[in-house]
Structures are given as C-alpha cells and as structure tokens.
Amino acid sequence: MSYISKKELQQSACEILKNLDCENLKPKDRMQIPLQEMPSQDPAIRRNNMEEVAIGYTPEQAKVEALRCLQCKNAPCMKGCPVNIDIPKFIQEIAEEKYQDSIDTIKVSSLLPAVCGRVCPQETQCQLYCTLGKALKDVEQSVSIGRLERFVADRDAQNATDVPIEIKPETGKKVAIIGSGPAGITVAADVRREGHEVTVFEAFHKPGGVLMYGIPEFRLPKEIVQREITQLKKMGVKIETNFVVGRTLTLPQLLDEEGFDAAFIGSGAGLPTFMNIEGENLVGVFSANEYLTRSNLMRAFEEKAATPIARSKKVAILGGGNVAMDAARTAVRLGADEVYLIYRRSEAEMPARIEEVEHAKEEGVIFHVLENVKRILGNDDGMVTGVECLRYELGEPDDSGRRRPIAIENSEFVIELDTVIVAIGNKSNPLIPHTTEGLEINKWGNIVADEDGKTSLDKVYAGGDIVLGAATVILAMGEGRKAAAAINEMLVD
C-alpha cells in the first residue's frame, strides 16, 4: 500500500458519489464500489509525533463505504461481533446520513464504540464473516465496519449534547469493581444504571487500564478514554485510584467489612512473560509493559514528564502481536535510528492486526521474521550490546493451528544493538487469587468463571483478560456486559 493523502481520498469519494444512483443500487453495483481507505498522517511525518495515525473518514467517504454494504438478511457479520452490534442497521443509517440513529443503534450493544472502532481486530471478528469480503475473496475487501463505527462515534462525541444518562432510583446496594479497563468500565456503567452504588478500585493513578497504559496515543488518543471515564463519573460512579485490591484491602475485606453486596474482578492480564534466556536482566532489556507504561501513562515522550525512558539507537522488539507493534512504533517515535522486530514464525502467523503491521512497515520498522533470539549479549558494565539469533523454518501445524517454527541448526548470527524490548505476552496477575481464599483459578492462573461471569465464590464475578487470558477490548466489554446483567439480577433477588 502506498500512501494516499486525505485530500485525494476525499476527492475520489466525492467523485464516486456523484456518479452513483444511491437510491437504486443493486448488489452488483455495491460490489463495484471501491473500498474506502482510512485517511492517515503521512508516514514520514507521523514517525516523529505521537498524534493519532488514522485520521478518520470524511462524511463522504463514510457514505461511500456504507453503500458497499449488501444489507444481508442473515447478517453474518453480526455473529463475528462479540457484542452483536446490529451492523447492517447502523451502516444503513450512515448511508442515509442519519448519524444520530446510527450511534443509537450501536450503543444498544456497545458501550465504547469510539474505542472499539479503533482497536478491534475487525479482520478476525465482524469483517471476517462479511459477505462482501467473501464474494471478493479477500477479507481486506470486506465492508470497513470498524471504520464506520468510529466515524459515527467520533461525530457523536463532537456534537455531544450532554444528555444525562438515565439512572434508576437508588437501591442502596453496593458493588465493587476491581480494575478500570474496558471490562470494569462496562460493568460499572451497566450496574450503576440500575441504581446501585458503584465504586471502581484502580491500582494506577489514572483509570482506563490497558487503554491508558498500554495502547499508545497514536492509536487511541487518551482523551477518548478519559471521555468515557468522565461519563462514568457523571453517572455517579466513584473511582478510587491508588487502591490495589489484595494489598490496600483484600476482596474478602471489601465484602465482609466494607459492606459491598457484590464484586466484579476485571484486573486484566498484567504479568509480563520473559523468555528465560541468558542476558535477560542486562541493562537495556525491558518488558513492553514497562516501555509502554512509561511512554503512555507516564508520558515520557513529553518534555515535562519526570519518568525516564530508554533513548535507544538500535532496538529490537521480540514478538509479533499488537503489543510488539505498539512498542516498535513507540521506539520509532522516541527517536531510535533503527527498530527491528524479531518474530520466530512468518508474517502470515503474526497475531498483530494487518493494519498495525502495515503501519509499522510504513514507519520504517525492519521486520526480521523466522528468526528468534537465543541469548542477549552484554558488556562488562552489564549493558546490552547485541542479540544472538537463530534462523527458523516452518514445520507442521501445532495445537494453535499455526505452523510450528523449527530452529535451523548452526544458523546463529549476531545483531548489534543497545535495547531489547520483550513483547511475547502477558499472564494473569496472581495478587487477587492469592489474597482471596476459595477463588478458583485454572492452570494458567486465570480466574474460572461461568457463562454469566460468576466465579467459585458467592457474590463475586469476573471478566475480561483475567478470565480469558490476554484477549481483546471488545471481548472484555462483552464479558462485562454479561456479568453486569447477572449482578443486576442477583441484586434484585
């Protein structure tokens, strides 16, 4: 993909609209409308700033893209959306320029459209099932559901009329929410609406979970996250930051001593995995969590921030997921001369979203696929000087269905660099299970919860990454919705 400016994209959208008989489109006509690319900042410029890369559709582009939707009766796209947004309906409303109706349709099912429209891995969710993509034999040609969702959500935020959200009369029941990520935010809103008193406990000094400390500004502006938090506060949800459940007070204390009638655990998957290889504790080796937290939450990229961050010349990111892409692209923006991404399978197996991979490449990240680090090299001062890598080839598919990477013997080679960022995954933080007797966890350390998010303990629910393992924002939100419904039901009885 070569870079096309917003102006050119807008012109071509206007051109298309002029030549379309919007009222009388047959499926065949719709299929011929070209996919609308997302306008974005010029890669050469955005490498040097933290501002959002994707700028968002213009109304004309949104309309053209919406007209591509075939309005399938069975709407297969909906089954790919974990919260079952009525996709054909909200898209049709965009086509008709009924933006308020459109956002209302989305809000029936989703609480965070501006967030999900931006960060959902659509190509493996809603857009994977899209009839149009199937007909054109290319998922990337599916209707851009996420981009359209973002379009109406952003428009809604701009024109925010500040209609207060309706809250039922106070019930006097108290619910504790642990963690303020997407799962916690969702449960807080849904439970508060029923008139229960809600307190969110967050360990960090700012609420928002991974949306604040993990996903970078250039993908998800923090302003959007804070808007959602402000909304919660307006609804009367109390947010206690600097409160780590299990230490400041334990979950049993909240229930037995502080009078909470129910609790929801949405504490996320915040336990970085390391590779247990030689040199991993050298100076200059960081977890992606540390690197991203310093940059996002602590704002290390701003002059005023007190937090230090590695200013690397040559840096390698180990991993191939969204977290790895985020770390690599952050390193570019913090001024590294060369940024390598080392991944032991091939690009086809990368768990990162296609869009993020494309963006990373456009910004100059150098991909080293089918390679893996064997050990990290250092000097006498304990500083990283390089990595010794092995080349890999792909063998038979493994349990995950992806082809298994196999090391090629004697293929060692060295890359010289000064920083290594490990981004090979996160596990569940054991703090709450360790301090809550009787809370069942599985062998990966995730809390065990049933369909409704109910855990092995009375009155205690859980959802999001702490239950699913590192997953996605929309899944965390979907689980939150289910748990909230169950909590509301329990509190009525």
């Binding site: 970085p272 390391f274 977890s287």
Partner: protein, 293 residues
C-alpha cells in the same frame, strides 16, 4: 490526595514525613512499602518504605533521602501540602522468624526501614543487636529510637566522627565469630553494603535477609522493571520481595540495573535545580526592584 501532617529533617538530606493514609496505616506490616507520586500528570512514581504507621490516627511515616529530582521535590513540600498519589502497602511483609538472636544492620537511610523490622523481632522475643553505620556523624539517623529497643547497639561511621571508625561489616563479622552465632541477620542499606554484609555472613553460614531497592513503576508485578536475579532465577522485587535471601542475590547485576537511567535522572535533577535557581533569582530581582521604588 494525601496530606502531610508532620515533617522533620533528620540530617542534611534526610527527611521524615508523616502523611495521611488511613487504609495503608490499617493494612501495613513491617517490611512493606508505598509508591508515591507527587504530580499525577507528569510525576515519577517512587517506592519508599513505610517506616512506621499509626492505624488509629490513620497516618504512616516515611523517611527518605533527597538523592534526585523526585525526592528533592518531596523534601520541598511542607506540612499541610498534599501528595497527589500514594499507593500501598506493597510487597511481602517481613517474615519475622522465631529466633533467639537477630542482628539488624542498617546503613545510611536503611536504618529507617530497619526500625519496624527490628522492633518486630524484638517483640517476638528475640535478642536484638543493632549495627548502624553512616559516612559521618551528621548522617546518622534514628539512633535514639534504636537505642530504645536494642539489647546491643553498635554505631560506626566511615570517617570515625562518631562511634567506631569502620564499615558495618566489621562488627557484623565479630558477631558472627562469637561463640554463639546469630540465628539471623537482616541487612538494609545501599546495595554495596548489603552485598558485603551478605558475603561476610555467607562465610560464617548465617542466614541473611536483605531488602532490595530496585527501580519500580507499578509495584504490582505488571512491568518487570524491578526484576533481579536471585539464585539464578528472575524475581520481581515489588511482589516477590522486597526481602530476599542475601546469599542468593546477584548484587552486581542489581547495581548495574539501578543505574539504567542515570543520565536522564541527572538531567531531571539539574532541571529542577535550574528551575529553583531561576525562581530564586527572579525573586531576588523582584525584591531588589521593589527596594528601588
């Protein structure tokens, strides 16, 4: 927001502060620490040991040395001022073993976090020897408090300006060589001191606990920034520690990791001073101008 209730200067650059933190005061145990951030938007989060606490008054006490930008800013705060964020209590509490004789070694500022631990051992019925050291007389802190609880108190300074002229390892070695060895040694202070204390006791095979002061961010096990190598394994100081078996800690690696951000810390510290100096200069100029009128 946590209000500063009391502030005392213990030595040239060591301060004691009592701050409002009712829940932490209620839950904390000896050996635990807090993370403190002065300013929510741009401040650094720094770990400080809870030196004391009063559950009834809802306050905790910290003792800190002004070494860099954040501790310097903190030392400029006064009674009635607020600290925007205080998180805790973090880390594993001290495991107060049931022993007959414990030797607690505190170096410099390390005497402060040592105090609640020494007290807990004393209360458990152990015989308590305290060895405290500092570079010079002016840097010694909490001598009176320690005297009040110790069965035996040995004070030393590097330059001999007070007490014995030696490093803390010397009396520690003597203790270990007595006919009856101590059952347990706890050493808290600069990494280099903890390293040599551990080497000293290793020779005599006396179990030794140290409290590590690595760089931290979240304090909940999320970032891995605080990791150290203990017995060949990677451990997170904030959740697995801060106390570890001193004989197993790779101190050399830890000391190098502590220096990871040296350059940037220096710049930040200089910036703060520069800012202060400018402010002072402006104030001086203003006063001078007004004087002219």
């Amino acid at each position: 927001m946590n209000k500063i209730i009391e502030k005392k200067q213990l030595s040239d650059d060591v301060f004691q502060m009592c701050i409002e933190a009712p829940l932490i005061a209620r839950s904390r145990k000896a050996g635990q620490f807090i993370l403190l951030q002065i300013d929510t938007d741009f401040g650094e989060r720094i770990p400080l040991t809870i030196a004391n606490g009063d559950a009834e008054a809802g306050t905790i006490t910290i003792v800190f040395q002004s070494v860099g930008a954040t501790t310097h800013k903190l030392s400029d705060k006064n009674v009635g001022d607020y600290i925007e964020n205080v998180l805790g209590p973090l880390g594993q509490p001290t495991h107060v073993k049931d022993v007959d004789w414990v030797v607690c070694v505190g170096g410099g500022i390390g005497v402060a976090p040592m105090y609640p631990i020494a007290k807990a051992f004393k209360e458990s019925g152990a015989k308590l020897t305290v060895i405290m050291g500092a570079r010079n007389k002016d840097l010694l802190i909490l001598e009176e408090d320690m005297k009040a609880i110790a069965d035996e108190l040995i004070v030393c300074t590097d330059d001999g300006s007070y007490g014995r002229k030696c490093l803390v390892t010397e009396p520690l070695k003597e203790c270990c060589q007595r006919e009856q060895q101590p059952d347990e040694v706890v050493a808290i202070g600069p990494p280099i001191m903890m390293k040599f204390c551990s080497l000293t006791t290793k020779e005599c095979e006396v179990p030794t606990t140290v409290s590590l002061n690595t760089i931290m961010i979240d304090g909940t096990g999320m970032c891995g920034g605080c990791r150290v190598t203990v017995g060949g394994e990677t451990k997170f100081v904030c959740v697995d520690g801060p106390e570890f078996d001193g004989h197993k800690v790779d101190f050399d690696n830890m000391m190098k990791r502590l220096g990871a951000y040296k350059k940037q810390e220096q710049v930040n510290h200089d910036k703060y001073h520069d800012h202060e100096c400018k402010a002072e200069k402006q104030a001086d100029e203003l006063v001078a101008k007004q004087g002219d009128k």
